[in-house]
């Protein structure tokens, strides 16, 4: 059976990174020893187009550290797919900046995890990184490229959000807020508690209410939900269940394929060196955990929820890491509200 292609392939083009972020889900630093060659990467662009993929989000590690990134980016554009580049914004030389402008991506995104240098630099593991990322952000905005900012929230930077908000107000960037999950370098003791997660949701809702889209565009990522009884939707579009292997696809720099790059290694379901991408994608067994969800797959609380058919148990990555299985994401606003109500008597 031939499936519709993914809307977006999130592609780690290299694991090499010049920062050392405490929350990095892939523990990036050194390049993998077996990363795809330039020829393989270019062929993969063609193959992605071949399965009907509409766009590529190029990330890492730090994608701009891979020497042939412009060739890959250009091929993505040549074959007619959209391109977004997710960079840490650190050490973006003038020539790199020019190459980004030449490639003209649909979106360039930088990561800001603190409103002050002390916090951002501590989280990112490199002194001076805050100053650089802010300068990079300003250059992108000034250039007119559609620009986004990602903030990954954990215990260390929950209190930084209002300061980051001040920094972004009026810049015209889209601000994506996501919860840090305990993969890679992030340890469980830094993960937000459920109440802190609710605080984060309140922050997103309050900011959307307080500021117009002209002043600040803010949204929660896929792990900020779901179906609150109190708060308006935090995501840009309504949640429709985990899209791993449905409308999104994860690619590791060595050609490993998984439904979503946020998932841990046990979810790798093939490698393009061993099997064509088309075969992996169209395999009925691929990503069966999201493509064929039954009520019996859901955790008990999710199964009894009125939104179970739509939600299917929240984010797979959060569910796996925080509940030890899929389709039972405990970081659910609706669930937390029920727990809060219960604890209030």
């Amino acid at each position: 059976m031939v499936r519709p292609g993914p809307g977006c392939a999130v592609w780690e083009i290299t694991l090499k990174c010049n920062l050392n972020c405490m929350h990095c889900g892939s523990a990036a630093g050194k390049a993998r020893s077996d990363e795809l060659t330039t020829d393989e990467a270019l062929q993969l662009c063609d193959d992605l187009k071949g399965i009907g993929c509409q766009g590529v989000a190029m990330m890492g590690g730090e994608p701009l550290l891979r020497k042939d990134w412009p060739s890959i980016a250009e091929r993505v554009r040549e074959v007619g797919m959209d391109l977004s580049i997710i960079t840490n914004g650190y050490k973006i030389t003038e020539s790199k900046f020019q190459r980004i402008l030449d490639v003209n991506p649909e979106l360039v995104t930088v990561s800001i995890d603190g409103g002050h240098a002390a916090i951002h630099d501590k989280i990112r593991g490199v002194p001076g990184s805050f100053k650089e990322v802010v300068a990079t952000l300003r250059r992108f905005v000034k250039s007119g490229l559609p620009t986004g900012v990602i903030t990954t929230v954990h215990k260390m930077n929950l209190g930084e959000l209002t300061t980051i908000r001040k920094l972004l107000l009026g810049t015209g960037v889209a601000w994506q807020i996501q919860m840090a999950t305990p993969y890679g370098r992030l340890t469980y003791d830094h993960v937000l508690s459920k109440e802190e997660y609710y605080s984060l949701a309140l922050f997103i809702a309050a900011t959307r209410k307080k500021y117009s889209k002209k002043e600040l565009m803010i949204a929660g990522a896929h792990d900020m939900g779901y179906f609150s009884r109190v708060l308006p939707p935090l995501q840009v579009y309504p949640w429709q269940g985990c899209q791993a292997g449905i409308s999104t696809l994860g690619i590791e720099s060595n050609g490993n394929i998984l439904g979503c790059l946020a998932l841990p290694p046990e979810y790798v379901e093939g490698n393009i060196r061993e099997r064509p991408l088309k075969e992996i994608w169209n395999d009925s067994a691929f990503s069966s955990y999201t493509r064929r969800v039954r009520r019996t797959d859901l955790g008990s609380e999710c199964a009894s929820c009125t939104y179970s058919k739509i939600c299917k148990g929240g984010c797979s990555a959060v569910s796996h890491s925080m509940a030890g299985g899929l389709h039972r994401d405990p970081y659910c606003l609706r669930l937390i509200e029920a727990e809060l109500k219960k604890s209030n008597g």
Partner: protein, 119 residues
């Protein structure tokens, strides 16, 4: 799913969100209070929010104009839902587990969020 839940889900749709404030007072009408003010303010303070900001996030007052609009919207949604059920039933769609396959592109939900997503 109850009719209230159905309407709430529809309210989440991007097109409806463009109606601006409309959704907020509807939400307030359709939902019951599950968080007391003190607790909500405490939670908001953890993220640096003032009590006013927390209040705004959860604000659910409804004006007279809003009430009329709400009733009209309920009628429209009811007609849509009834229409959809009437059309879908003979096709055997009802009762199947939905296999959502929405196509996203970079800058729409996955990968990262883009300014164009807010337009």
């Amino acid at each position: 799913m109850t009719w209230r839940e159905s309407i709430l889900y529809e309210l989440n749709a991007a097109r409806i969100q463009r109606l601006g404030g409309l959704k907020d007072w509807m939400r307030g009408f359709l939902t019951t209070s599950v968080l007391d003010t003190e607790k909500a303010e405490m939670l908001g303070a953890q993220a640096g929010l003032t009590p006013n900001e927390v209040g705004a996030a959860m604000d659910a007052r409804m004006s007279r104009r809003g009430s009329i609009l709400f009733k009209l919207t309920v009628v429209v949604f009811t007609l849509i839902i009834v229409g959809a059920v009437v059309l879908a039933d003979p096709l055997g769609v009802i009762g199947q587990y939905p296999a959502t396959n929405t196509t996203y592109v970079p800058g729409t939900r996955y990968g990262s969020i883009c300014p164009k997503d807010f337009r």
